[in-house]
Symmetry: C2
Subunit: 224 residues, 2 copies
Amino acid sequence: MVGEPGRNRRIPEAIVVRLPVYQRILAELLRGGTATVSSEELATRARVNAAKVRKDFSLLGWFGTRGTGYDTAYLATQIDRALGAARDWPVAIVGIGNLGRALAGSEGFSSHGFRVAWLFDADPSVVGHVVGSTRVAHVDELPAMLGAAHPAIGVIATPAVAAQQVADLLVAAGVPSILNFAPRLLTVPGEVLLRSVDLSIELQVMSFHLQQADGDLRRPAHWP
Amino acid sequence: MVGEPGRNRRIPEAIVVRLPVYQRILAELLRGGTATVSSEELATRARVNAAKVRKDFSLLGWFGTRGTGYDTAYLATQIDRALGAARDWPVAIVGIGNLGRALAGSEGFSSHGFRVAWLFDADPSVVGHVVGSTRVAHVDELPAMLGAAHPAIGVIATPAVAAQQVADLLVAAGVPSILNFAPRLLTVPGEVLLRSVDLSIELQVMSFHLQQADGDLRRPAHWP
């Protein structure tokens, strides 16, 4: 039984963020030849509880069979569809330093329908290089190249100081969504989808937990 | 009024993840000379609602003044304390490709108490290089170097195929927490804190929203 995921209702963001996690787990199960999977197994691997898995899927209109669980291949297809993985999402990356190169070369940026189609940098010593199979263009060429081509997603991997200016260029070129890796809060018009990734947030979440587990009074004597 | 954040109760993970976001906003406000901030202003910048901001802070024992808001500097100090930012958290990074270099050089990995103290790679052409001010050691040296030094956090930035083996090495060396950037689900003992960052998850969240906003029927004619 399948609903129309999210066409007529709003899927909570917390569920949207878990979908790629479920998707990766299902892909690993499929590679291992697993035909059906229980909510308990999915929950253990996704590090959530089984009731949450069942609630997430039922909200999206996907139901398992009692005693058997979910059809792995079917569930994977549904999640792919919800995430738009069957479509083509051309991506432009601005800032081709270590992070930009890592993103351009990452598996995640060249699967699930994503296709790194444009690379831009402001550094003349980087412009003209070919990364993957894409030539790095100068950021001055961005308005003309993207204004005509309409990428789905613009990725900002520049230093913080350049990020807002690059965001403005992407918005002016009509890019509907921006993924920002620069450590700077950006301002974009309300109709532009902006999400930010702070590579250090997870580190800080870890130090929070270490701090909680540890406490100044219980700090191990051997810690430097 | 200040409670003891989280010493005696469990802070929901969703709040922990928002603390670094609030922290960055407060740092920007402080740089701009803002002495007090309302929950509405924090909410707008953090892209949550004001009631959630007030609830987050009250759960942590932090309260604003009606009509005035929160003391910016005080709140920043409390969040730093909760996140353990005043402590020293030595970090080891394994995998010094583009991503490992980007992480080693990132502002977030050399602030908030974090200190990149060890770099490891398996590639002889990388071993011996100095990245930042740290020499890249061979991963074979990891057990001896980390077993004696006890880093707080191990970061895995290797290709997927090497990730589990590196996780096993880090666990064996007594590293209490692991941050994994490799696109692979890892298995570690229950007492080890493991968190994973999938650089493509945010891309997938974006394609979900683009898909929802767009729909196949309303796909713009100009989209390639």
